[in-house]
Amino acid sequence: MSELKSTKVNWFFACAVEDVPENGGVCVKHGDDQIALFNFTRRGEWYATQNMCPHRQQMAISRGMIGSVEDEPKVACPFHKKTFSLKDGSCLSGDDYQLKTYPVKVEDGKVYIDVK
């Protein structure tokens, strides 16, 4: 567990792997922040972004549907279907929005988010 204390990263324990639906997302509470965490089983990848959609400030990204455009993994907000890259949080629907993204790692069936 020594690397968790490294200065650059701050791994926060979010939940167990089986708490997150395959190819779906959940919302993680971190203090006053809400983080959307995705288990992209089809790609064997995990992603985390802010839960608030920048379009109308709705806490909804974790309930969005994930998928890909070309090879870019993305999530669509359930409200107005704006889509965002899961890799860098940029808005793929052509608007000037940005989601904050977080690194994720999985160890021993546990999911950690780097909250810095």
Binding site: A14, C27, R42, R56, Q57, A60, G67, E70
Partner: protein, 835 residues
């Protein structure tokens, strides 16, 4: 230079087309054009005259408004027939007294309906079918009539018969002198089959019948026939053929045919070289061409020759395709080649009402002609194969059967046609013209129509134009298929079929088998809805939960602020006081805003996602079930109070609405479905604005389909009258299942119908007459969905695993989203506004 003065006599379709063609070829100021028309309106689309009864107005049918003539410097005299031509002085005289000199005359006087000299033809209630005025008179008379008849079982007669049916004269006879229908276009076997089909649609057909007398005092009441029989009739349309309007030609000494028609040569010149004749009044090599395409070609010949070109009329192919009362009928090339001069292949399915015949040259290389009835999908391809003498495939029967087993379609498809193949013969547009228009950016059918004119005449070439467009775009690397999204190269219907055939049960299976990439918010709900329509499994089954639209995923409608609304089913809008109280208690306990919906139920707003299971536990205990307001599924069947309380009610609309709502509850579809049942024609339930609507009649129920409220209101179409409840449910099973199977994603029934080729006639045929032979399957599939119904919310309430998904925070399950804010309004709460 002095202008050449041309007088055009007759402003019908061909006369108009001549003006248009001349203008496009001539230099400005080269000609002076003067047009005389006998009718009071400028030329209109006579070919689609019957569309007048489908709601098209005279303006809709117009080829070009009066301003077109003005803008192009054409002097137009309407309602003023030319009565005399003085060929020595080179002048004409009109009915209103105008005298004009001319350099050339173009006679485009068309033809009139031929009326045989039967005693009584002058009586009230006897009509012909040729002009807008005729149709106006027919429309105005029809409400008085109950029993109709049409003399003439040819193309126009059958069209007139269809009009009678459409005008509500369901008891209509078609009287044909010949032993069979459409003797000029199709063979005996084809006639027989067509007759059978038309009879099932309610027409009575009398062949070998010669009318002797039209009886009645002032108006027609009876028709007497040569075989000593008679029928009661109060309205008759005579459509026994056409008579070329050659009277002024005859009067000024031009040669006319024995049975009418102005004799013309290869340049369309009459016996006076300064006078031409075109269209249905022209007699070329002993023949009157009663179709629009040859008329346009004649106009082209005259316009070309007058502008210095050289062009000859070479006769014309009389191939035709039409939809008669919803039945496709087509013939092309030489449909009648005797069996000893050709190889004749015939395919007949009397059950489905399909008859196809192709005549092939003895060496098996060339298609000579053929007939298609009941299914004319291959018409354009066959016509082109025939006209372009394209070498036939090894198994020529594939032409009409479709190839079985192999991947290639019968024949080479549109790609096999030479560039100069004439695709639109009305406007002489070749394959090359269309393809280059597409390359230049005309990437919709409407654009192609606008820039090439293809398909603006009889419209028969439209499917082929569309095929060519698709091919050309594909060849240029453009994506044109109606595909769902980048992850599936299939339409919704194709995915539906593939999923069904492969018995695929989850989104991932479907994606792996038929798609690529990782899916997206477009294809996931589409497949989820297909899976639900196919198997009616619990939609939150593992793996399928995350592909549901957010509303389906939480079995509630997400609202502003991130809370959800809850709508339990209140079938037919009938609710007990106890249930009302239960709703009130739940709303109070969870602090929900309440409102009555447009669909006669009660909506509870403002529920936290984590409260949903507890709310539903209480509702289910009180006897409620899911209302599927969150799904692309059946919403409500609205009802009026009907005969139980209403003094006008004919039947118990509430009970029937409940029966229907309970039958189709939970049914997943490409879009939401709404319905209504009214207890009488006063229509208090507004059933005609629903996807399917039911109205009680004295004898049973009337069924309407494909209506819509919402942003594009559309009236539903009546498809069946006075049917009993069991028949109605049978039709509904077929209708809904057919919609579920074939509609594009997020397409309401109204839009689905608007896009459907063949429109309501086609749909009616599928539902009522089983024209596709799939009714039994549709009914079976629907029954298995009905049997598989379970309330989704009951399953969640009974299953703690599923309930876990309803927490807002995965790592703080008891906490609610603290960002959700409410404010007060009129003693209830509402959500804070968007920022």
């Amino acid at each position: 230079m002095k202008k050449i003065k041309i007088v055009v006599i007759g402003n019908g379709m061909v006369g108009y087309k001549f003006c248009e063609k001349l203008l496009s070829k001539a230099k400005a100021d080269q000609f002076e054009l003067i047009v005389f028309g006998e009718e009071i309106r400028p030329a209109y689309d006579r070919v689609h005259l019957s569309a007048f009864f489908d709601g098209k107005t005279a303006e809709d049918l117009s080829m070009a408004g009066v301003e077109w003539y003005v803008n192009n410097g054409i002097k137009l005299h309407l309602g003023d027939p030319v009565q005399q031509i003085d060929r020595t002085k080179k002048t004409i005289h009109s009915y209103r007294g105008i005298t004009e000199s001319y350099d050339y005359i173009v006679l485009a006087t068309g033809s009139a309906a031929f009326v045989p000299s039967i005693p009584g033809v002058e009586k009230d209630g006897v009509f012909v079918y040729r002009t807008i005025e005729d149709l106006e008179m027919i429309r105005d008379y029809a409400p008085k009539a109950r029993k109709g008849a049409v003399i003439g079982g040819g193309l126009l007669g059958l069209e007139a018969a269809k009009a009678m049916l459409d005008l509500g004269i369901t008891d209509t006879h078609v009287i044909e002198f010949a032993p069979r229908l459409m003797p000029r276009q199709i063979d005996e076997a084809g006639s027989k089959l067509l007759q059978g089909k038309l009879e099932t649609l309610g027409l009575t057909i009398l062949t070998n019948t010669n009318t002797l007398e039209i009886a009645g005092d002032k108006a027609i009441t009876k028709m007497k026939f040569a075989n000593d029989t008679s029928i009661d009739v109060d309205m008759l349309v005579i459509s026994a053929g056409i008579k070329p309007r050659d009277e002024i030609a005859k009067l000024c000494g031009l040669e006319v045919g024995q049975r009418g028609g102005i004799v013309v040569n290869d340049q369309m010149q009459t016996t006076d070289p300064f006078i031409f004749a075109v269209g249905e009044c022209a007699l070329y090599k002993g023949m009157i061409y009663g179709l629009i395409a040859p008329g346009y070609e004649m106009a082209e010949v005259v316009a070309a020759n007058l502008t210095g070109g050289k062009k000859e009329f070479l006769g014309f192919d009389m191939s035709t395709k039409l939809k008669l009362i919803g039945v496709d009928v087509a013939s092309f090339g030489d449909p009648f080649v005797p069996a000893n001069e050709a190889r004749v292949i015939v395919y007949e399915d009397t059950n489905k009402g399909i008859y196809k015949r192709v005549n092939i040259s003895k060496d098996g290389k060339e298609l000579l002609g053929g007939i298609l009835i009941g299914d004319a999908e291959q018409y354009n391809m066959l016509l082109q194969t025939c006209k372009n003498k394209i070498v036939l495939p090894a198994n020529p029967e594939d032409l009409i059967l479709g190839s079985r087993g192999g991947e290639s379609e019968g024949g080479a498809g549109v790609t096999g046609l030479p560039d100069d193949a004439m695709i639109c013969s009305c406007e002489s547009v070749s394959k090359g013209d269309i393809c280059s228009a597409v390359v230049d950016g005309a990437e919709t059918v409407d654009k192609i129509k606008a820039c090439t004119k293809a398909g603006t005449g009889c419209g028969g070439c439209m499917p082929m134009v569309k095929d060519l467009m698709v091919h050309t775009m594909k060849a240029n690397g453009k994506l044109v298929r109606n595909v769902v999204c980048e992850h599936f190269a299939y339409s919704r219907q194709e995915i539906y079929d593939l999923t069904k055939m492969g018995k695929l049960q989850s989104y991932d299976e479907v994606l792996t088998a038929h798609g690529k990439g990782d899916g997206c918010e477009v294809c996931k709900p589409v497949v989820a809805s297909i899976l639900a329509s196919l198997w009616n499994d619990m939609i939150l089954k593992k793996g399928n939960d995350v592909v549901q639209d957010s509303n389906d995923r939480f079995l509630a409608n997400i609202q502003k602020g991130g809370t959800y609304s809850v709508v339990p089913r209140v079938a037919g809008g009938e609710i007990t006081p106890d249930k009302l109280i239960a709703l009130g208690q739940v709303a109070k306990e969870f602090n929900l805003y309440t409102k009555i919906t447009g669909g006669q139920r009660i909506d509870l707003f403002g529920a936290h996602v984590s409260d949903l299971p507890a709310i539903w536990k209480l509702l289910i205990d009180a006897g409620f079930e899911s209302g599927h307001a969150y799904g692309k599924a059946l919403r409500t069947v609205k009802s009026c109070v009907g005969s139980t309380w209403c003094r006008f009610g004919l039947h118990d609309s509430v009970s029937f609405a409940i029966e229907i709502e309970e039958r189709y509850r939970g049914l997943r579809a490409p879009h939401k479905l709404k319905s209504g049942v009214s207890g009488c024609i006063r229509e208090c339930a507004e059933a005609q604005s629903k996807d399917f609507g039911i109205i009680a009649t004295e004898k049973g129920w009337n069924l309407y389909v494909c209506g819509n409220g919402g942003s594009k209101p559309q009236h539903a179409h009546l498809i069946a009258t006075d049917i009993d409840s069991a028949t109605l449910i049978k039709y509904l099973d077929r209708f809904l299942m057919f919609y579920i199977k074939t509609a594009d994603p997020l397409t309401r029934t109204a839009t689905w119908l608007n896009k459907m080729e063949g429109g309501i006639d086609y749909l009616k045929n599928v539902i009522l007459n089983d024209s596709l032979g799939i009714a039994a399957d549709l009914e079976k599939e629907m029954q298995s969905l009905v049997d598989a119904y379970k309330c989704e919310w009951k399953e969640v309430v009974d299953n703690p695993e599923l309930q876990k998904r309803f927490n807002h925070f995965v790592n703080a399950p008891t906490e609610k989203d603290p960002t959700i804010q409410f404010v007060e309004m009129r003693d209830q709460k509402k959500v804070a506004d968007w920022k």
